[in-house]
Assembly symmetry: C2
Homo-oligomer: 393 residues x 2
């Protein structure tokens, strides 16, 4: 047993695995190869920054899952997964980043030894951690097996959060609130941007309410001025300036659960079109939230938001939200549901989303966003951060 406290009781992993197996059976899979680190962790408890080498959880229709990865990381698996040591299999280090051979050769042998040589095997074909070469290697070394796309299969099982998962999400919510408070306390015109990001990161890792901060799956995105017309620039050392806005797209994290929330800070008197944009976003946000309830569809939230936004003279041509939960870099979303037209996914109690009505204007960005939980009757905003354009004079 690790000094790392287990994040969930074994019964919770059992429930997750049983749910996943029902879907596997429905879809005709004999086994799945789970390479998404978030899915690996959700199914087994595995936690470690080892996803830069090939690794997976192998889940069959019965028996405990098998952790497979680099031999040196088998030790970390032994200290974090709920399974017994005999369910941990390592490959030797000569397979690491060696063009002459591929780690997936060893996974193919393991699958074969586990009776999967002629099986129907799910593989996450559009995950970062399942490369084209990984797939080609499995295909070559399992010539009698059938590899079928299972991208998103486990991700979808993760959508409705358990009581304890929500507890971790709420702790992460306290942390991101504290990070935004830190911005308001520390940011001043003339301050180097990186010095402010240092304070934000410090606050995020120190945590809040006695709960420690884990690393967010995306680093702080904090562009100012014209750079804030783009959504994903990070930071440099340019000073914060009067008459300019900066948005802060950040997340609190606890035990890998991610609670993202964005706010925008303006130094001085915001021009009228910022105020107009703020008003429009806040009113459209209320309209979207009013549709966020069990039984409604993801697109209902987006349509209500967009109709209000358009009526008030603004447009947003990208999705305005996505599912969130446990995550590893490079994405804190669950990559299942999106708030956009045509997404007919049904909202159910226990689902969590980042409602993300960001506007990127011609001269800057405005992000005022809310992590939300679908409740039995409607919606709950996980954070109490004031919903407004922050202004410091």
């Amino acid at each position: 047993m690790s000094t790392f406290e287990a994040n969930f009781p074994t019964e919770e992993y059992d429930r997750r695995i049983n749910r996943t197996r029902r879907t596997m059976a429905d879809r005709g899979f004999d086994m799945i190869v789970v390479t998404d680190p978030s899915n690996m962790s959700w199914l087994s408890g595995y936690d470690g920054w080892s996803f830069y080498v090939h690794q997976a959880i192998l889940l069959k229709l019965e028996g405990e899952p098998i952790w497979w990865g680099r031999a040196m990381d088998a030790v970390g698996a032994g200290r974090t997964v709920f399974m017994a040591y005999d369910r941990i299999v390592g490959y030797d280090d000569t397979y690491v980043q060696n063009p002459d051979k591929h780690p997936m050769e060893t996974l193919a042998r393991l699958i074969d030894a586990e009776g999967g040589g002629t099986a129907r095997i799910g593989v996450e074909t559009d995950n970062y951690y399942y490369t084209a070469a990984a797939h080609a290697t499995l295909l070559k070394h399992l010539p009698e097996a059938t590899l079928i796309d299972s991208t998103g299969l486990v991700n979808w099982e993760r959508a409705e959060k358990s009581h304890r998962e929500l507890e971790y999400m709420r702790r992460a919510a306290r942390i991101v609130e504290r990070m935004h408070e830190t911005i308001l306390e520390k940011a001043e015109p003339g301050m180097r941007k990186n010095d402010l990001v240092a304070e934000i990161s410090h606050a995020g890792i120190a945590g809040a309410d006695g709960h420690w901060g884990d690393y967010p799956a995306i680093v702080p995105i904090t562009p100012s001025g014209l750079d804030a017309t783009a959504p994903h620039l990070t930071w440099d050392d340019q000073p914060l300036r009067r008459g300019e806005s900066t948005f802060f797209e950040i997340a609190g994290a606890h035990r890998r659960y991610q609670c993202p929330q964005s706010r925008t800070l303006f130094f001085g008197q915001p021009p009228q079109h910022y105020r107009d944009a703020e008003m429009a976003v806040l009113e459209a946000t209320e309209a979207g939230l009013a549709q966020a309830r069990p039984g409604n569809r993801c697109e209902d939230v987006a349509n209500a938001f967009n109709a209000t936004l358009n009526r008030l003279g603004f447009e947003k041509d990208s999705r305005c939200g996505y599912a969130i939960g446990i995550s590893y870099p490079p994405d804190w979303g669950e990559r299942t549901m999106s708030f956009r037209r045509g997404d007919m996914s049904e909202l159910r109690p226990g689902m969590t989303f980042h409602f993300m009505p960001a506007l990127w204007l011609d001269d800057g960005g405005l992000e005022i966003t809310e992590p939300i939980l679908i409740t039995e009757t409607g919606v709950e905003c996980l954070c109490r951060t004031p919903r407004m354009l922050f202004v410091k004079d």
Copy 2:
């Protein structure tokens, strides 16, 4: 032009592209699809945390490279790449994380429009950001083209650093020195681990010598006690303890250039076998460094290191180093050369490595590592951090 200062003059990008094109021509490629964010940045200057969606640089044998990605990120491309706006192509947001269609359909159309419909096209088949589904989509929509593995092609061109790249590596070296100083200053028995990591991250982003800190491509890896028998566990809130060691595998970063360095801290009197391990690693490190010079092979460093280590009664069965430079998560290595038996890559002036002689013992870990530069005549350690087991009483 961005308020983000350009990291390199356009002439440097020209030189990089010319070098890459010579290799492309030698290997018979008409164009390459570059999906590794580090390669994208090295060829074009592109910088942003947008690699969680599909994106690429398309490089032909002539003309400026083309940046291709999500439409909202085209704005960030416009603010960071050296190319003109007409070399930036965005796909609409409905392609994002939508199982009904794939962004690579739009890249296939772009390649076709660029005359690549029957071309020989290099694709980075074993990169995180080139998934099995991405490859299948390109294959399907470019039925007359030939897709050939080009994993590592650009990475290898990055191996020998320019004067300005070395300047950024040295700034990152100052930053990681400062991070280790911070550990020595702040760490105390009883301190929560996450509170120490908050200080480390603060120091890393604040930077050193007036140069700002960028985000490292791997978060701090800081396990204590038995958790330090595993190489890649991150942190939690367990207190630092007397009689226990903690290793700190961390990197300073500046403008995406990464300078990793590890040290180990023991509270109290280290047991004799720690002292023995320290002596062995230090002597084996000297033996390895003595082989790190132009004309020698990567394996020469590993063989000298391992022979000395074994003579002193210790074993290490994993590689003891790898190339470093510009990088994005999830890996700060260049994924080309490794210090291990059989790696016959020739060391050349300007190459940079993380010489990484970590030992994971039965009751803890010992990491005392050095980022190094191959010079005209031998080797230079980029950091001045004292090379020893740190002990605090």
